[in-house]
Symmetry: C2
Subunit: 430 residues, 2 copies
């Protein structure tokens, strides 16, 4: 029987909000936000949406009015009492009071700042400019909104049974992946799929499937809200935006060369254990490690987010050995474009040589490939990046030139400063 009250309730909404909570965000954004709030409270940063898949003409697919309604809804959100309690009271990685009282007080009063939106060449130009620690919180919800609106646009003409079958197939597909992963010994895997998820409900469903299907092998989710709702660990460390913005703020080439290490020095002061994870690829992994101070070799692990992941991991293992560390005590987190085959392969390759874990993103929470006739739900490469800091452009080189960003002359300068030579190009799926 139809629940009439529930149905009446559902039909009263003018829109179906995609993001309904300020902590429907990646946990590491909150960690970084707290760090920035303390260390760079005055930096002015611009975040910008960048669609690396130009053939997906988002402005043709998605209605501007709907997009604005969703973004405006996000601006209306504030931290609820329960969310605040969760953040204040929870133990993250065994540490109590991960979030400092002064940060929480600020966060409890936060509304996200305004956005700038216009259409250009079939794409949306969506930017957020303001205090770094405020605009940075837009990245994940902005991406999630665009991904979900694109999905809704594609689903719009599907009929009821088609939709039922679509979701049944997608869940079957995910479940078959989980069944393969179940047999991988000593697997440790987390959900990193918030930013490019099919939808909030779908990500939540994927997480539930992982909980049931993988048991202890599933170690948590990057999504703070889902972690709270499903009573699992919130996972995450830090991202490229820290070295990118610190570097853009550098006044000389010497400061620039030190900027990525300054980020980690600030981080080192704040965090220990599982939060001390290097992300070495922003300006080339090899040079970064070569020039790294010794105390960085003492960190818990490394995250491999671009380039060939096995190569990156071998470089890290060799580096640890060179610095007198035992790689078997170190954690390698793979998080770039993973799917089951790659996970199994990497797990096998590094078994016994290092601790390994996986941050599974888009192909966990948005794998609808082959499930619609014209593959309209194919995942694509949408990012939202810091492009400017205090007026200077940011630069990212990464271990894959296809993931590089920034003005050409600045890229050349960064390559020179960080001693980056030839790099091999790899396709970016997501």
């Amino acid at each position: 029987m139809v629940d009439i009250a529930n149905r009446v309730w559902n039909h009263k909404w003018k829109i179906d909000p995609i993001v309904r909570s300020l902590i429907d965000n990646d946990f590491y954004k909150l960690l970084m936000c707290q760090s920035v709030f303390r260390n760079k409270p005055d930096a002015t940063v611009t975040f910008s949406l960048i669609n690396r898949s130009k053939d997906i003409r988002l402005a043709d697919l998605i209605d501007e009015g709907e997009l604005r309604e969703q973004l405006d809804h996000i601006r209306s959100l504030s931290l609820t009492r329960g969310e605040s309690t969760f953040l204040r009271g929870n133990t993250f990685y065994g540490k109590r009071q991960m979030f400092r009282p002064d940060f929480m007080e600020w966060f409890e009063n936060l509304r996200l700042p305004d956005y700038h939106l216009e259409k250009r060449d079939g794409q949306y130009e969506l930017t957020f400019e303001g205090k770094w620690h405020e605009v940075m919180l837009w990245e994940i919800p902005a991406l999630a909104v665009l991904m979900e609106l694109r999905g809704r646009a594609v689903l719009h003409d599907m009929r009821k049974f088609e939709l039922q079958v679509l979701y049944a197939r997608a869940m079957t597909k995910l479940w078959e992946k989980i069944e393969r992963l179940r047999d991988v010994p000593d697997l440790r895997i987390a959900d990193f799929g918030t930013r490019r998820r099919h939808s909030y409900l779908w990500q939540d469903r994927c997480v539930q499937a992982m909980i049931e299907g993988l048991g202890d092998k599933f170690i948590g989710t990057s999504n703070c809200l889902i972690a709270m709702k499903r009573d699992i660990e919130a996972i995450g460390t830090n991202a490229h935006e820290l070295p990118m913005v610190y570097s853009a703020l550098a006044k000389t080439d010497e400061e620039l060369a030190q900027a990525p290490y300054q980020v980690l020095a600030d981080w080192h002061e704040e965090h220990d254990g599982n939060l001390r994870i290097l992300l070495p690829d922003t300006y080339g992994t090899e040079g970064f490690l070569k020039r790294a101070p010794d105390w960085l070799a003492g960190w818990t692990g490394i995250r491999i987010d671009s380039g060939d992941p096995a190569t990156g991991a071998e470089i890290a293992i060799k580096w640890w050995k060179d610095r007198g560390e035992d790689p078997r005590e170190k954690l390698i987190i793979f998080s770039d474009g993973l799917d089951v085959e790659k996970i199994v392969e990497l797990r096998t390759q590094f078994a016994g040589r290092a601790k390994v874990s996986f941050g599974w993103g888009t192909l966990l929470t948005n794998d609808f490939r082959g499930l619609t006739p014209d593959d309209g739900l194919l995942p694509f490469s949408l990012v939202c990046k810091a492009i400017k800091a205090d007026g200077n452009p940011t630069v990212k080189l990464s271990d894959n030139p296809n993931k590089a960003m920034g003005p050409a002359d600045e890229i050349e300068r960064y390559k020179r400063v960080f001693g980056v030579g030839e790099q091999s190009r790899m396709d970016v799926i997501v």
Copy 2:
């Protein structure tokens, strides 16, 4: 677990259509439509919405855009194959092929004609002008749309739990009524509540409750779609619009005096058995019966729709006796403003003296009295009537002057022609 596919499906709709089928209409409208289609195919009639409860300012409560969307949606409807099969193939009152093939062919190609809508003094002026057999089908859906939009407006600010409790209370209230009716011996009762229902789903739910709670005592519904869906009898005979329009079409006082009988002569030719039910009150029950030809006394029964119901029934019983008929073989249908107390009282009063049945309307399908803080869902008296036929105003006198309608001079003329004297006024609730 949320059914994601179903949720996506639900959220794709731009509006939540109130009327989704051409046969979400009262069965007697279809019967009358077929009769008009044969006997008065060229009459041009205007139907108009009339809100007798002026304090309910519908135009302030209901958004004009939403109202138009709902009415436009109704204009997009046509008979589905299944609905056509149901109408063509079903047995109504034991008679096969109640609907003639020529009528069905016309009906299968019908789209409802245009409407005229404007706001005036806080009310909607909503009229339908065209071929009688086309515009007449607007009456019930137009009323249902306005009733449901008014309900939605009132429910709009209620929260989720309030709604759950509201519907729980309304169902409890209905169930308690049904439990009282269950104990009434030889009860025969039908749902007549389409036009002023709270909502389609609610009417359907009420019918299901009646089926479960009353068993054989529940004899069917006036709603053709619900009759089809729930596999129960479609109930209904004829309404005031027939004598009103026939009378307006009369060219002389003599023709006018005969018009109400001409209606029934036409009807007599088409229908027998349970469909031969007199509706005597259009121009005063007493005079109508006094001047009725003898063959009308042979009809199956009478419907009492205005004035004091017991008085009306007593008049009918006396009339049958005067004409040599046995009232115990006759059916009296009460259908005006009924609720449980009245039903029990009338059933008791006429037990053994005539067959009695009840057409329970608004207080079956829309009794939310006392369930919202400011009683915003109080039923009110909204009708949609034929006001003009071939340019002449229609007139209704009824057995209650508060239900009378038409221009004052015409009312006087009708009173004279039909010999109507003093009448007693009664409040009109619904």
